[in-house]
């Protein structure tokens, strides 16, 4: 009915199917090295999708491509029915991102950092929104503290405040609970789930903490060597790999999957 690359077609299809994110045949080469090859997956509105895989699996490159920080070698990325390649600003206005490895300027106070990003995302009633988020993440007492003086747990919560400033429809979280103690990690996890449900937000979540993933994600995409190795709900993945936990699946995929199966058979035969 529509030409395949028509923006209008994507917008209408996205609206009809509540498709928020769609990656098709994504490939990224850095010279001779192929970081991501033939990656395709999608995320619907209100879904929490875990993007998992060992170090070097291609998760970061995939997220960077979604954010328009990296240009793909081939393939398409459509968010809200629009291609990131040409509609980056419109898309980013409705998305946000937080990573445990990316900081806010340490020489600005907590509230100042949030003021800056509220202006960049053109947040209405910014002061109220900032106060609300600071209270929600229990860091309002640090509003006038220099960001550099926060502990790593407080910094992570500040990053999440920044990521929620514009009420994003698509939130990308790169290891949000890394470097947090179990108590704070649990609080943060519960807050993310609460906000996600309240706002019916789509979340793309990467983590090495499989407990987090099992608890939060509706669907997981396992990557290995730049490819999608497995995709499905946590239950489907456990059944597919005949494992008891996602951590076991992770270890199995990270160690070569089929190879282990062969080793197990060899062990049984022996």
């Amino acid at each position: 009915m529509f030409p395949h690359n028509s923006n209008l077609a994507y917008v209408i299809l996205a609206f009809m199917s509540e498709l928020v994110l769609e990656i098709k045949n994504l490939r990224k080469e850095y010279g001779a090295k192929v970081a991501v090859q033939d990656v395709s997956f999608h995320a619907n509105r209100g879904e929490v999708v875990g993007l998992l895989g060992p170090n070097g699996a291609g998760k970061t490159t995939t997220i960077q491509t979604l954010l328009g920080l990296v240009l793909p070698t081939s393939g398409t990325v459509n968010i809200f029915g629009m291609p990131i390649a040409t509609e980056r600003i419109k898309i980013l206005q409705r998305c946000n991102f937080s990573s445990a490895y990316i900081w806010l300027p340490e020489n600005l106070k907590v509230r100042e950092n949030l003021n800056v990003f509220a202006a960049l995302y053109q947040v209405k009633k910014a002061k109220e929104k900032i106060n609300e988020l600071l209270e929600m993440f229990e860091i309002s007492q640090f509003a006038n503290t220099l960001t550099g003086k926060l502990s790593s747990g407080e910094s992570t919560r500040l990053n999440l405040c920044k990521a929620l400033l514009n009420d994003p429809e698509l939130l990308m979280l790169d290891e949000p609970t890394a470097s947090l103690d179990p108590d704070i990690a649990d609080k943060v996890r519960k807050l993310i789930v609460k906000i996600q449900k309240e706002k019916n937000m789509t979340v793309l979540y990467t983590s090495h903490n499989m407990k987090d993933v099992q608890e939060i994600c509706n669907r997981v995409v396992f990557m290995q060597h730049g490819k999608v190795h497995a995709e499905g709900s946590p239950k489907q993945i456990l059944a597919q790999f005949k494992q008891k936990s996602l951590e076991d699946v992770f270890i199995r995929i990270a160690r070569g999957g089929d190879l282990i199966e062969e080793e197990e058979k060899a062990g049984e035969e022996a």
């Binding site: 850095y30 990296v70 900081w103």
Partner: protein, 263 residues
């Protein structure tokens, strides 16, 4: 371009500079030191040998005007580096910020810094040496605009090269202006340069400004032809610098160097 986003980027610079006395000191300290050293040196030269007409006014005027260019350049390059150093670079570029808005904010910061430095240096030069910068008259305005434009252009080129070569090229932010300084005849007339270098000097917009400044201070008038030449060259280089920046920025997005800047 969104004014709200531009305001957000400028707000960041305001918070940054209003908080840190060291940053303000860095902006003011070096130009004041330049003024003192060159001022006292020329006073001494005048005592030893008073044969060079106008040497004193040339040097002081040159120091003030060079700092206008240098501050404009530094603001563009160092503002970018600030984001790199604070690992905030990715946060800025995953926000809906156009590269044009980012560059515009650094340019405005450069303009503000240049104006502030001039506001400090002009009265200081009068206080120490009874130097009347106002002798340049209305010419000050085109001189100032041309130097700011050239400062922004050098800043943009420097930033593009830093994006291309990464952290190892950060020193370029300070080196490139001083590569241009000897060529654009800041402290001496173009005639002093070897013939082959003179033709290069005439391709630099600031050369016309510094030559024009000396002409005006000697009592002559600034040639409209030179002014047009300076503006035309500035516009051409600004356009080429914007193209280079856009090209290298997109290349960095292709080869992953942009995100490496954040590590």
């Amino acid at each position: 371009m969104s004014l709200a986003r531009l305001r957000g980027l400028l707000l960041r610079y305001y918070y940054c500079y209003s908080r840190s006395s060291f940053r303000i000191l860095d902006i003011v300290f070096w130009p004041v030191m330049d003024l003192l050293i060159w001022g006292f040196l020329t006073m001494y030269m005048m005592k030893v040998n008073n044969n060079v007409p106008g040497v004193f006014t040339f040097f002081i005027g040159a120091v003030i005007m060079w700092n206008v260019l240098y501050r404009a350049q530094q603001a563009v390059s160092v503002s970018f580096l600030e984001d790199v150093w604070s690992r905030n670079f990715v946060n800025i570029f995953v926000a809906p910020v156009r590269t044009f808005e980012f560059v515009a904010a650094t340019c405005i910061s450069g303009l503000v810094q240049s104006v502030c430095v001039s506001i400090i240096l002009i009265p200081l030069s009068y206080w120490f040496y009874h130097y009347n910068f106002g002798a340049l008259g209305i010419c000050m305005i085109p001189f100032f605009i041309n130097l700011i434009l050239m400062g922004w252009t050098i800043g943009l080129i420097t930033t593009a090269l830093i994006i291309r070569w990464g952290h190892q090229a950060e020193a370029l932010a300070w080196a490139i202006p001083f590569l241009i300084q000897p060529i654009c005849a800041v402290f001496y007339p173009v005639d002093v340069l070897p013939v082959w270098l003179r033709s290069i000097a005439l391709c630099v917009p600031a050369t016309y400004v510094f030559e024009g400044m000396r002409t005006v201070l000697k009592g002559g008038s600034f040639s409209t032809k030179d002014l047009i030449m300076s503006v035309a060259l500035n516009m051409l280089y600004a356009f080429l610098a914007a193209m280079l920046f856009e090209y290298l920025f997109n290349e960095a997005r292709k080869n992953g160097k942009l995100t490496k800047m954040n590590t």
